[in-house]
Symmetry: C2
Subunit: 137 residues, 2 copies
Amino acid sequence: MSGQARTERRPTRQRAAIAEALADATEFRSAQEIHADLASAGDRVGLATVYRNLQAMATDGEVDVIRTADGESVYRACATEDHHHHVVCRGCGLAVEVTADAVERWAETVAASHGFTQVRHTVEVDGLCRRCSSGSS
Amino acid sequence: MSGQARTERRPTRQRAAIAEALADATEFRSAQEIHADLASAGDRVGLATVYRNLQAMATDGEVDVIRTADGESVYRACATEDHHHHVVCRGCGLAVEVTADAVERWAETVAASHGFTQVRHTVEVDGLCRRCSSGSS
DNA sequence: TTATGTGCAAAGGGTTTGCACTCCG
DNA sequence: CGGAGTGCAAACCCTTTGCACATAA
């Protein structure tokens, strides 16, 4: 299972705008932020449409999604389509993509040792990037 | 900062009931579920109180919290106070506690290699436990 | 008594949905 | 033309908050 899903989604102005906004951003952005970005850029797109597209893109694996601590979903267009994780800066939002073969294997092993199958996992690492480490408390 | 915090919280009937409900449960439960459990057990406790206590307990490290995919916070009284993670069954909710020294180190290392400090991490593994693996599709 | 905890209900904030309309194909 | 995609606003859901009342110390 897995792999590319439905690439047959109708290309619309809104969809393109959202994809572009996402491509421009280097950090994770929430649906609302994307919506605001588009608005201030003159692109009038409904908030619901932003949510719908973001979800669709996430499902298709075009973008990555992670949940912030306060229950907000943030999206980001990722450089690689391969499975990977992120290290996000709590200060500025800077996000670095990292692969984690070690963790993948660990998750699989540990789960298996408890009799689990069809294992999935979520790994999020956050801290303060070099720049934010300096000034803040 | 850090370390055990205020153990000096006033003991109330509600608080005790919530703690007990949590102790009885073997899987993660949401605030609403706990509230329902108490209600059906005859313990009349306000939903807000459940939320407040659950939060407090989580802050004090008495219970573990994880966010479900659909943005719900679920709590569980953990056997050990030490840092650990869980492997949760998507079928029945069975949760197994596991330590992950390997992952802890990996997170620290990877983050550090990118200049990050004050690293924290979230790791959740889920799959189907042996029992659920058999019957379901 | 007095501060802390509780209950209720209303407010919040993010996300989803119903329905009529628009636009791609 | 026909259906996928869009917009708007109302609906949802979980969670938080304000305020008066109850209770542990």
